[in-house]
């Protein structure tokens, strides 16, 4: 396995603001890597450094083992990039922007193949290529950038919150495209602030917060960090039996429903017990990134809550 992305002690300061404070993470070839963090954690800054659009204040970042700042243009032959906030030329149509970006990436060598790929992508993403850039909504601008990214094969796809403007149907289309490029052996770096989205696609994730990595590993490894919420209709007759279940946390009875959380890697253990109780209206909600942060890294939030309670 070769390392495609690697950072060591990566630092980025904007004046006095410290955006990245010693970031270490790596992505291996062929991996779909989730890059998670709340807004303002430093995800986009990291991505921009990896693409040579911004320069690291300190530390080291390499892309395919080379320096992304000095070798930017050369490295970009192997990279497809979708920025977090896609801007298009207001006077050019989406189709023109896609063709332009493809040509700049050198993806026009086989015109027929490119045209077929482009037509297929326009079809599946349901994008009208004749609209002018200024007339597209945020979601459609994102689709333009995605079609441009997927229309030319790349070794590495860097996607900064690519689904934030897409509807659920389009998210499925997007997931299929990611599966497709992954099957072809490409590496994908997918940033997001939504844990479930990353869970569906990624084998490994890196979670950052305030410019530092807080967790990195496979999803199975991170499972212990999270708790899944289980809820069902409250039946007073079974109250005692529910309370006796082992391993539950935060049990509450609220608006006629029982809610509690269990460690995510132990959800299956509970199912027989719940079956014996014959619970009605059962829901099992996977943990969100917000839950994870509140539970494990809520050190800064906690005092605020205390104050609120006081």
């Amino acid at each position: 396995m070769t390392t495609v992305i690697s950072t060591r002690g990566l630092q980025k300061h904007f004046g006095r603001t410290i955006a990245l404070d010693g970031l270490d993470f790596s992505v291996e070839a062929g991996e779909i890597h989730g890059f998670l963090g709340p807004n303002g954690a430093g995800k986009s800054t990291t991505i921009r450094i990896l693409l040579g659009l911004a320069r690291a204040t300190g530390g080291e970042a390499t892309l395919f083992g080379r320096d992304p700042w000095t070798d930017a243009a050369d490295l970009h032959r192997r990279v497809a990039y979708v920025p977090g906030d896609v801007a298009l030329w207001p006077n050019f149509s989406g189709g023109e922007a896609i063709d332009l970006l493809t040509r700049l990436r050198g993806g026009m060598t086989d015109k027929t193949a490119y045209r077929e790929r482009k037509e297929r992508l326009l079809e599946v993403f349901q994008l009208d290529p004749k609209k002018k850039g200024r007339a597209y909504s945020k979601g459609n601008r994102q689709k333009v950038a995605l079609v441009a990214a997927f229309a030319t094969p790349a070794e590495l796809y860097v996607l900064d919150e690519p689904t934030s403007g897409l509807d659920p149907l389009m998210e499925q289309v997007f997931n299929r495209e990611i599966d497709r490029v992954a099957r072809d052996g490409a590496t994908v770096l997918l940033s997001s602030h939504i844990l479930s989205e990353v869970e569906e696609l990624c084998e490994r994730v890196t979670i950052i917060r305030a410019g530092e990595v807080v967790e990195s590993g496979t999803l199975a490894e991170l499972r212990h960090l999270t708790r899944t919420e289980i809820a069902f209709v409250h039946d007073p007759a079974k109250e005692a039996a529910v309370a006796a279940l082992p391993g539950t946390h935060d049990l509450v009875i609220d608006e006629g429903r029982v809610r509690f959380t269990v460690d995510s890697d132990r959800v299956a253990d509970f199912l027989p017990d719940l079956g014996r109780l014959g619970v009605q209206g059962l829901t099992v909600a996977p943990p969100s990134l917000e839950d994870l942060f509140l539970r494990h890294y809520g050190d800064e939030l906690a005092p605020v809550e205390e104050e609120a309670r006081a």
Partner: protein, 540 residues
């Protein structure tokens, strides 16, 4: 009513610095220029002479006004009114578009329209804001004139004429905002209209009928098409007649009525001239980053080239008129010789003045190319391009090359237009080398402005747009209008335009040109080279 006041206060607050600079700056310019005029042309004989020259050459009238005698007030009005009205016009149309189409384009107008303020009230607030700004401009100019010891009544008439022509331009700005989908489209049509208003009254003055004493001119009909022309008809300090101002006021009222009618029936964000659907695939030009830079700058190039062609045509075609006037009245020829210098012929002096204007147009075009690079960066589209295999250094280098090309095209087009216009001159063949030299002489100064704008882009990206326009604007005022406005020599010398070689009498001193060529190339090279270390500065 409270909502209207809220919207109005928001406009005033947002514009306070910008409008204060426009208004006080213009008033200060008026004050300083008039002091200078009085110290230079204090003597009655000097004024008679300069009016005689202006009326004889006609073209000088294009850039000044309607001669109306040699009294202090009337003489100042002749020299400065049209210029101040031009400044007020630009202030007014930018104001109108900024608060209407620009807001719609950015989506902010939608947030306002969704409140009880609705779609129409913001436009009403903009009309009031524009009227107030122009009243303030007229008032401060009148005060500047009175402070110079000019008669109060005439000064108030002058101020009123500035206010009214400004209001007409506000109305026109609002109208263009209804027409176009983008603020860029609206701004370019309104700026064209303001410049056309200035030039139409200029042509009216130049083609007017002079009186026997060569101190007065009755403007020809083109002046009747221009709000600035009606301002001149007031004859401040002499006739003091406010009735001509009723026509631009009626024009403004009709146009504003039309604006409200259009706004009442159209959708929020829509425009009268619909944006067309684009093509599904990119054309051959859009196949490289250079092609992209070129495509992004072609609209800019076209508009400045049109200006260059018009100026070039005027330069030589009007010179035949001058020649005619000089032949008809030999005593005028003597006056001209004394005023312009015996070395230069009348035609040469003419061509030199007009091609210095062409130089400003080409420099503006080059500055706008540099600004385009910044807009690409701030908008985020540069990030898309630099995310592909385009190196940073090459990206800016391509903008520099496009800048050089647009300068050459504007200058070449104006030279060709000048040659085409020379057909009517007495001796066309002798005029052609003169035109070619005069056009080529503008290249170095233009390269300086291109280099400066890219330097600002490289080192203080967020200031690119403001500094780029300010530098070229101030330099144009100092270098070309500075001598007319009697600015001190050291101040004029700060402007690159002042160092452009002037072909005259068969001898041209190219020293200034070579220096500026070196400075321009060096500035461009430093800017491009600095991209090695510069990261993308998006936003702001």
């Amino acid at each position: 009513m409270t909502r209207l006041l809220v919207l109005l206060r928001q406009r005033i607050r947002r514009d306070r610095l910008q409008l204060a600079l426009w208004i006080l700056g213009t008033a200060l310019l008026a004050y300083a220029s008039i002091s200078a005029v009085f110290s230079t042309y204090g003597e009655e004989q000097d004024r008679r002479e300069i009016l005689g020259v202006a009326i004889a050459t006609r073209t000088i009238l294009v850039f000044r006004g309607t001669p109306n005698g040699i009294d202090d007030g009337a003489f100042a009005f002749f020299l400065l009114f049209a210029w101040l009205a031009l400044m007020g016009g630009l202030m007014s149309t930018f104001l109108a578009v900024r608060h209407t189409r620009k807001e719609e384009e950015e989506g902010r107008a939608e947030a306002i329209a969704a409140t009880p303020a609705g779609r129409i009230l913001p436009t009403t607030a903009t009309v009031i804001h524009g009227v107030l700004a122009n009243v303030a401009l007229g008032l401060f100019i009148a005060l500047a004139l009175i402070a110079n010891g000019l008669d109060a009544t005439g000064s108030m008439v002058w101020g009123a004429a500035i206010t009214v022509s400004g209001i007409a331009f506000v109305a026109f700005g609002l109208f263009t905002a209804q027409l176009f989908r983008t603020s860029r489209g609206a701004n370019s049509l309104s700026v064209t209209f303001v410049l056309a208003a200035y030039l139409l009254r200029g042509i009216g003055d130049a083609a007017g009928t002079p009186s026997d004493d060569l101190l007065h001119v009755t403007p020809a009909w083109p002046s009747w098409l221009s709000p600035i022309g009606y301002g001149q008809f007031t004859g401040a300090y002499v006739q003091n007649d406010l009735t001509p101002l009723l026509i631009p006021l009626a024009f403004a009222a009709a146009l504003i009525g039309l604006v409200f009618a259009l706004q009442a029936v159209r959708d929020q964000g829509a425009s009268l001239l619909a944006g067309r659907a684009g093509r599904a695939t990119a054309g051959p030009v859009l196949s490289s980053s250079f092609g992209l830079a070129w495509r992004l700058n072609t609209p800019i190039l076209l508009s400045w080239t049109a200006g260059g062609i018009a100026t070039g045509l005027l330069a030589t075609s009007l010179s035949s008129v001058v020649d005619q006037a000089a032949t008809d009245a030999p005593q005028i020829l003597d006056t001209l010789r004394r005023a312009i210098g015996s070395e230069a012929s009348i035609e040469e002096a003419f061509v030199a003045v007009f091609y210095s204007i062409v130089g400003i147009l080409a420099a503006c075009c080059a500055v706008q190319v540099g600004i385009r690079a910044r807009q690409e960066e701030a908008h985020g589209t540069a990030e898309l391009v630099l995310g592909t295999r385009v190196p940073r250094l090459r990206w800016l280098l391509e903008y520099w090359i496009v800048g050089v090309i647009v300068i050459v095209i504007v200058l070449a087009a104006s030279a060709l237009a000048g040659i085409a216009g020379a057909g009517t001159a007495a001796d066309p063949e002798s005029l052609i080398p003169n035109v070619l030299e005069a056009a080529a002489a503008q290249l170095p100064a233009c390269l300086v402005f291109l280099g400066l704008t890219l330097l600002v882009f490289a080192f203080v990206p967020r200031a690119t747009i403001a500094v780029g326009w300010t530098v070229v604007g101030v330099a144009a005022i100092l270098g070309v209008w500075g001598p007319i406005l009697q600015a001190p020599e050291w101040l004029v010398d700060l402007s690159p335009f002042a160092h452009s070689p002037v072909p005259a009498g068969g001898e041209t001193d190219w020293t200034g040109g070579f220096w500026m060529l070196a400075i321009g190339l060096a500035a461009g090279a430093v800017a491009v080279w600095s991209m090695r270390r510069r990261e993308l500065a998006s936003g702001g």
